[in-house]
Structures are given as structure tokens and as C-alpha cells.
Symmetry: C2
Subunit: 329 residues, 2 copies
Amino acid sequence: MKRLALVSALALFAALPLQAIGPKESGSKNLAILIFPGVQIIDYTGPWEVLGHAYVNNQPAFRIYTVAESTDPITTSMGMSVNPTYTLSAAPKPDVIVVPGGNVDPQLSHAAVLGWLKSNAKGAEVVLSVCNGAFFLAQAGLLDGLEATTFAGLIDELKAAAPKTRVVSDRRFVDNGKIVTAAGLSSGIDGALHVIEKLLGKGAAQVAATSLEYDWRPDSGYVRASLADRRLSAGYDAIRQFQRNVVRHEGTRDRWETAWTIQTNASAAQVLEQLDKVFADARGATRRGPGAWRLAGDDGSSWTESTTVRPAEGRGPGYVVTMIVVRSR
Amino acid sequence: MKRLALVSALALFAALPLQAIGPKESGSKNLAILIFPGVQIIDYTGPWEVLGHAYVNNQPAFRIYTVAESTDPITTSMGMSVNPTYTLSAAPKPDVIVVPGGNVDPQLSHAAVLGWLKSNAKGAEVVLSVCNGAFFLAQAGLLDGLEATTFAGLIDELKAAAPKTRVVSDRRFVDNGKIVTAAGLSSGIDGALHVIEKLLGKGAAQVAATSLEYDWRPDSGYVRASLADRRLSAGYDAIRQFQRNVVRHEGTRDRWETAWTIQTNASAAQVLEQLDKVFADARGATRRGPGAWRLAGDDGSSWTESTTVRPAEGRGPGYVVTMIVVRSR
């Protein structure tokens, strides 16, 4: 009886046709990763590892190489020494380009780098920026008229650098077709999985995520506190229930954390903005972004407050809001 | 009124003392990452980036460097060329050691590598292996009498390689005090966050995760399908409700996905084992691990089935079980 129920469940699958069709793509695409002194490690190695787990006809879907102004060793953000595969001028024409972030500012005046990006983006199928790699794209004019995102702390700066771009701050990545921009650092992993999904289908992306043992939740709605700046629309009701819906409260001498559930149709931004209004009255408080503050203790000690907003699962519309206060070290 | 409620909520924080205490640790610890030809990129760069976001007194908590048999360039798993910081003999004595995986087998007979690991592990505070980096630890005798884990596909091999070790396959990492072993690839990110929590407190780990915009869920219970081998304890009732609790069913020509919720006290392994029993009867099915199969289409096409188990949130004890069938490419 129990066995029978399972067989019936599996019949869902059996009823679907297992027919041979040609793969969407065959052969290997050229995938260039732009690197430079101070490139952020995870910004480019996360996508590299993810994209290296995409397959077509049991062969790697991408031939991955790095491109830099010279092939001399480059020192990354946290001190890794890497040797670029190609110079800009010698690099094969890429089908996919990954533009990581890091110490980007000094690069933005390098005509050779910008020129390579502009000319190669034309023929590429996808250009993925990660973190403040978006500023390369902005500088190259590749974001004009599009939506884009970047590292949480640089949202306002990107708006200034790319005035013809609608900069969004509440998504882990933004897909305009060819141009995809991911948010900060680890977001590049999700951005790369999305690129696989775009080019090879969701199944290929799921296989890559599974191979990496990565808990891929493309619809999780996770955004960093300071990414949640969606417009207010429904008043201040979102925070009414804070007091009666504490789901977790824990503290030590140098760290406290409290989480509430909030049932509301309001935006995450609403909660954060209201919290900000209260913090703004606090003595010694300095705002670092939506829901993110530097606080002063009575004795001169310094504390960091950050707020994380996640959609509440299985509880109707609403959020789990977590406030974390940590002693600065 | 609304404002008042929030102020009261914040009083939870205000009631806690903001006192200055000395940091748990001061100064920078030496952190050595062992690298070798074929080292898996994300296995060591994930922890590198994470650990680089840990701070003490506003200074990086770890001085991170790589160690290898020689300082000649090393080519990683997917073709990145990196220059090790130190040879084994010249490397500073590490306080923390990270041992990534990748093409590990050829290294296990290198006496210099094993000797370095054995002698430096003695004085280290923490040794973190990632993926099949656990086999270095096994070979060095560092796992004897302990619990450990590794990449999902190598659980049985680790049991054979480390007969005095209790190998577990349902956790993202295993902490024995000094010796911490993480599961496959991206699990190293979570393993590294755990190391920060161990050495510098949960707040420091949360700050690092937030800096990386990483959706850290240390208690998520996420395990890869083939990691879920917990012992059966409650019969086969876990799968009874498959038919009436489908939460998602979607399909294309080359990918299908169905998710069910299951309310049960039974183990994740129970579901997977029962699914395996049904698949075992299917024509052309080859088992690749718990809940993971290679299936043959009627026309000779090849398909991959994998099952992911996640604790159901907010629905009482139970799971969301997702079966994914993808055409092999």
C-alpha cells in the first residue's frame, strides 16, 4: 500500500516523455574573466568554479580564461598571486565575459581595459558583472538605458556614475538580456548560476549547483539590509507587530540578535526606514545605509547594527526581520 | 502609537549593557592554505575570501598565505595559474590551516606535504578541510577517533581511507574542536564562517557573511541528497503524503522538477531510501548515491535524477523533498 503510493508518485515522471532531442548548444564557448590588481577573490573565483560545472555533451560548456593588461602576476584583493592567461590584445574573442569587482577605480582610466571591454561586449552573448565590476560596465557605456545593481554600499555611487541607468538595490542580480549585473561578492555565484540557466537551461544550472553542494535558492528573495530600498507604499503598519512576534532573541556581552516575523503587504524598505527613524534619534548613532548603523556605547565602545530582511515562508505575505548588534572589533 | 511600539522594541537592546570589554583576541593570526596542482578553486578561495573579512581591532584577524611544495606556479582544477606564497619549509608557523580538496590523490604519497601538515597541525588552533581535502587529514592520522565529512560522492571512500573515523554524511561541516571538516566545494564557505565563529564569536561571523552578501543559514539543515543517510527509525510513513502535497511541479522537454512537503518525524534518509527502492526496479536505472540516479530514456537518451531534502519551515516536523530530472548533456 505504502509502496503503491510511491509508485503512483513516480508515475508523474513516467508519464513525461523521455525523448532524445539535440542539446540547445554544443561545443565549448569562450569565457573571459577580466582581472586586474586588487580584483576581489570571490568575485571572479566564485563564477569560475560555478561556470566550470556547466556541461554540454559531457564536455565543459565553457573554455575559461583570464584576461589582463599584461600577463605579469597580479595580486588580488587579499593577497593571492595569479598569472593571467592572456593579455587583452592576445585573448581569444569571448562569447561570455565576467567582470569582477575589487579595486576598480584605478582601472576606470585605463583606455586599454575599457576599449577591450567595449569591443568584446559587442559580440558577446552575455556580460556578467559582479559587485563593483558594474562600474567598468558603466564607464564603458554598457549600462545606458538599462537596469543594474552592484555592491550594497555602492548603490548611490553607481547612480552617480551611471545617470542613464536605473540602479536597483533589492535584487541579487539584474538581467537585461546580454548585460547581467550581480550584487556584492558572493552574489556572483548566483549570477553565474543564472548565466548557466540563460544559456543552457535551468537543469544545467541545478546540476552545477548540486555539484558544488550549493544551496541554490533563486527565488529566496534574500537581499542584504542595505539593498532593501524599495519604495514605501503602505504606511508604517509593517512594524506594529514587532513586540508580539519575536521568534528569536539571544545575546552575549558583545553580540545581540533579535528576529521578528511581520505579516504585511508592505515593503522591506518600510521596515528599514522606520527603524532608521528611531536610530536617528539615538545618541552617537551614524547611519551606514538602510537598516545599518554604527552605534556608540556609554563608555566609548563602538557597535555595528545591521538588519536582514527575508520573506517569511509559509506564513502569508510578510518578512522575518533580524536585527544584529555586534561590538566593533 | 506606531512609533511607540518600535521604541519599545528597541528598548530590548537598550536594556542590554553597552560596556567596553577587551576583544577575545588581538593581533593577527597566521593562516596557511595548503595548495597543490589541481586544487579545487572554490575549496580554497571561498574560505580565503570569508576569512579575509574577519577583523580584530579593525585589523584583519588573519594573515593569509598559501603554502606548497614549491613556489613555482600551480595550475588549479579549472586552469587558474597561481603563485604560492611560501614553500612548506619556509612558511611561517600557522595558527589556522585550511586544507582544500581537488586532485588530492597524487598528493597523498608526498611525504613533505603530509609531514608539513602533521607537524603544523600540532600547534594549530584550527585545521579546516574542505571537500576531499579530508583525505589529507585522514592520511596524516588527524581524523583518528574523530567524526568527519567530505564531498557527497566520496563518503564511502573516506570510510575506507579512515577506518578509525566516524564518517558522517548529513552535515555541512563537522567540528571536533581543533579539527573541522567541511563537505563539498561551496561548503567551505560555511566551514570558514564557522571557524570565524569559533575563534572570534558569532557576531564576527555574521559581519563577515553580511560583508560578503552571503545568505548564511547555519541552521538551515540543508544537505545534499546523497549526504542524507541518517538511519531509518520510523517506517515508511514519510512518503505517504507525496501525492497530496505537491507544492511545485514544472517541466520542459529536458528537465522536470517536482517538490512535495512531507510532515513526519522520520529521517530524510527514509524518504531517499524508499525512492531508491522504486528506482531500483526501473529499467536502465543506475544508482549514483542516495536519491541520485542515472536513468535511461526509451530512445537511448540519458537522464540524471537527484533529490534534495530540506527541513520544511514553519510547518511542523517534516521536509520539502524536491526531485529533479535533467537530460544529461
